[in-house]
């Protein structure tokens, strides 16, 4: 293993939503940096998927955008979470944690399997 991992299918939207919840209104670059930093620079983000994902979330009403000024005084598009986005985030977070817990139970090593009722040998 080692090296960087690509963002898994379907998790990018969740990361974007979580980022916006944590940081508040943010432009695309800010979101990208935050995701990379949070992953401890283990993730490479494909911008070919980030911006379409942002557009999709906006079309679906999870985030809203407005134009403002960036830290270097440039015209920038800021995204923020909508109420529907908050709901969506809560739902998907729950799903992920549950899925993780299940997988963890499967994959945790050295856990003694429940002995068969009859007991062998």
């Amino acid at each position: 293993m080692g090296g960087k991992t690509d963002v898994w299918q379907g998790t990018l939207a969740l990361m974007v939503l979580k980022t916006l919840q944590t940081l508040g209104a943010q432009h695309g670059y800010g979101i990208a940096r935050r995701i990379e930093q949070t992953s401890g620079d283990l993730l490479t983000l494909n911008y070919g998927t980030l911006y379409p994902a942002l557009l999709r979330l906006e079309q679906e009403g999870c985030i809203a955008s407005e134009w403002g000024l960036s830290e270097n005084n440039r015209r920038a598009k800021f995204y923020k979470l909508t109420r529907a986005g908050h709901r969506q985030l809560a739902k998907e977070t729950g799903n992920w944690l549950q899925a993780n817990a299940i997988l963890a139970r499967f994959l945790t090593p050295d856990e003694p399997a429940a002995a068969p009722a009859g007991g062998a040998q």
Binding site: H27, G28, Y29, A32, R33, Y47, G48, T49, Y51, P52, L55, R56, Q59, E60, G61, C62, W67, S70, N72, R74, R75, A76, K77, A84
Partner: protein
């Protein structure tokens, strides 16, 4: 919900705005700038920092991904194809008009004929469980399925083992007094269980009750919906009121549903309960009814046919005088209704199908020729990077447009064609085929339309597309001149022409034969001069003119009055028009020739002495009737009497037979 919202927004994105594009460039540009700055912070020189930023962000690639997400790329290219195809069709108006006209002709013809086929052959008869209904009647050598006598009907009903219910019906006619004068109305006399057998309850009032079809019962009538509207103003209080039909009082007990039809009988305004008191009903050898029965559960028509034949055989032994040679038959009611029109409809359907085929081949050839002349265009598009799927889709879009326009116009004209065809059928003939009037664009007809459209679309797409792909894009580009024509195209094109010509020959031969038959039919020598003849129906009910004397006196009066009309040269009277047939037959025996056990059955009609002169008929031997023959001819109904004056037509041998008397 969220998906729907996104879809709607993407649909709106189909119309791109300059603002959206500008915003996109700003957004991605900012990202690259910020990325560059970050790289510079890390100590990378500006040029290299920018290069790395652009590599990482992706620039144009990202923007295209966003643009794709902004609208629906598949739909967008479809719209593009459609716009392009429309432009193509507009810039070649002659081609477009020809192709669409051919499609419309083919589709209108086949769809309208199919609608009639659907209404007649495919739709079940409008009765309860129509598959269990059979027509059952007597069968004689000379006529095939003939009529059933009332006496035989009673025996059949009693002795059969296959029918849940067994009704009988026969033609009838009445004179009805209306405010506008006395009108003849068509009617059907039925046994009381007739509507029960069909499974049709009346709309108003009640059905006939058991026993109302017996001799002693008061007379009852059920109106059809049109008769109720026409003669009784659609009033509900007609139920239980009395009406005089040919001078006799009938009680109206019910009205039939609006959509009721009984095609086996043809037009009938009224249905009256049978009143078996007439001479015919009492005589076993008088056949004037047709049986209608509902099969018991699990009985097949073949079983019913066998059982009816068994009963008929028993009756032959029991009543040899009247029933010799009288077999029985049971066949599906559906067969009785459609067997005359089925071959006509199938001929039309085949004809219109061939016409459609010719139209499609024509359009396909046109498209092929055009694809050939457009080879350079496609070669160029291919060279500029258009994927072959996209070029194929271009063909599909163009032919889809053609087929769509052709189908829509074709279906619209089919409705007109159907009205036109219906108006070509004589009203009397149409009245006996009520199901034709119910032809319209049903689901089945539309399915048929869609099926032929899809087939045409595939044909129109595949033929030019295969041509272009076989020819090869490179060859198309190199050939330089347009319309060079390759061997493949010539082979495919000439095969299409061969197929089309063959189809056209089949169609022409069929049409020619039909025309020839009609021509022959119009020139059949009928044995008299059919020009300058006018016919008129006179109805004189027994109640007003009882007895032969009065009937004969009326005949003479009618003849005399007509003869005084200007332009009238001769007047004859018959109970049946020439060249028509109603199954009236009689059995004859020759004086002096021993009866050999075989009935000699001959067609029969009653005529006045001047009948043949009026027709200008050709006389082979002997003489016509004279006034002196008339009283003998009308010697009541003594069927044992010798037919002294009988005109034999057809063969000389018949004449020899008569001379033997």
């Amino acid at each position: 919900m969220r998906k729907l919202r996104a879809l709607l927004l993407r649909l709106r994105g189909l119309a791109p705005t300059a603002q959206a594009e500008h915003d996109l460039q700003d957004e991605i540009g900012l990202h690259i700038d910020l990325e560059t700055e970050a790289n510079e912070h890390a100590g990378i020189p500006h040029k290299e920092a920018r290069r790395q930023a652009m590599l990482k962000v992706g620039g144009e690639q990202v923007m295209q991904a966003v643009r794709d997400r902004r609208s629906l790329p598949a739909l967008e290219s479809l719209l593009q194809d459609t716009r392009f195809a429309l432009r193509q069709l507009r810039t070649h108006p002659t081609f477009t008009a020809t192709a669409i006209t051919m499609m419309v002709l083919g589709i209108a013809a086949s769809v309208s004929i199919f609608a009639f086929v659907d209404a007649t052959l495919l739709r079940p008869l409008p009765y309860r469980e129509p598959r269990r209904l059979v027509a059952t009647t007597e069968l004689v050598d000379k006529l095939g399925p003939a009529n059933l006598s009332y006496q035989d009907y009673l025996d059949w009903r009693r002795s059969n083992r296959v029918y849940q219910s067994f009704a009988a019906w026969g033609g009838e006619g009445f004179l009805l007094a209306t405010p506008g004068g006395t009108e003849p109305v068509t009617a059907t006399k039925v046994t009381a269980n007739f509507f029960g057998t069909l499974g049709v309850p009346p709309l108003l009032g009640r059905d006939f009750r058991p026993g109302e079809d017996l001799a002693g019962a008061p007379r009852t009538v059920i109106l059809t919906y049109p008769a109720w509207q026409q003669y009784f103003g659609g009033r509900a209080d007609v139920i239980d009121s009395s009406v005089r039909l040919s001078g006799e009082a009938f009680t109206i007990i019910g009205v039939l549903p609006q959509n009721f039809e009984f095609a086996a009988r043809g037009p009938s305004a009224l249905f009256v309960a049978m009143h078996p008191t007439g001479e015919c009903e009492l005589r076993r050898s008088c056949h004037n009814l047709i049986g209608l029965a509902r099969l018991k559960d699990g009985i097949t028509v073949a079983q019913a046919d066998g059982d009816v034949k068994r009963v008929a055989r028993e009756l032959q032994q029991q009543y040899p005088g009247s029933n010799r040679g009288q077999d029985g038959i049971a066949l599906p009611l559906y067969e009785q209704v459609v067997h005359n029109i089925r071959p006509i409809l199938l001929t039309f359907l085949a004809g219109s199908g061939l016409l459609l085929l010719i139209a499609c081949i024509n359009v396909a050839s046109l498209l092929l020729a055009r694809a050939d002349s457009r080879r350079r265009e496609f070669a160029l598009r291919g060279a500029l990077g258009a994927p072959s799927g996209r070029i194929f889709r271009q063909f599909a879009t163009e032919s889809l447009l053609l087929v769509l326009i052709g189908t829509l116009l074709g279906v619209a004209s089919a409705a007109t064609v159907m009205r036109l065809l219906l108006s070509l059928i004589p009203a009397k003939m149409l009245a006996s085929m009520p199901y034709l009037k119910t032809a319209h664009l049903t689901g089945r007809v539309l399915t048929f339309t869609v099926a032929i459209s899809v087939a045409a679309w595939l044909l129109f797409t595949l033929i030019p597309a295969l041509h272009v792909s076989f020819t090869g894009l490179r060859a198309g580009l190199m050939e330089g001149t347009s319309g060079g024509g390759s061997l493949g195209w010539r082979r495919l094109g000439s095969n299409l022409v061969v197929l089309e010509l063959a189809t056209a020959v089949v169609l022409l031969a069929g049409a020619g034969l039909l025309g020839r038959s009609l021509f022959q039919l119009l020139r059949v020598h009928v044995g008299f001069d059919p020009s300058h003849l006018a016919t008129i129906f006179v109805e004189a009910p027994e109640t007003s003119y009882p007895g032969d004397e009065k009937q004969l006196a009326l005949q003479k009066q009618v003849e005399a009055r007509f003869r005084t009309l200007p332009g009238v040269q001769a007047v004859g009277i018959a109970n049946l028009l020439p060249v028509s047939f109603n199954g009236n037959t009689g059995w004859i025996r020759f004086v002096g020739r021993p009866y050999d056990g075989h009935h000699i059955e001959v067609n029969e009609r009653t005529v006045s002495p001047q009948y043949f002169e009026t027709l200008r008929a050709t006389l082979l031997h002997g003489r016509w009737f004279t006034e002196a023959d008339a009283p003998q001819r009308r010697s009541g109904h003594d069927h044992q009497s010798n037919l002294r004056q009988t005109v034999f037509s057809r063969r000389g041998s018949d004449w020899e037979a008569v001379r033997e008397q």
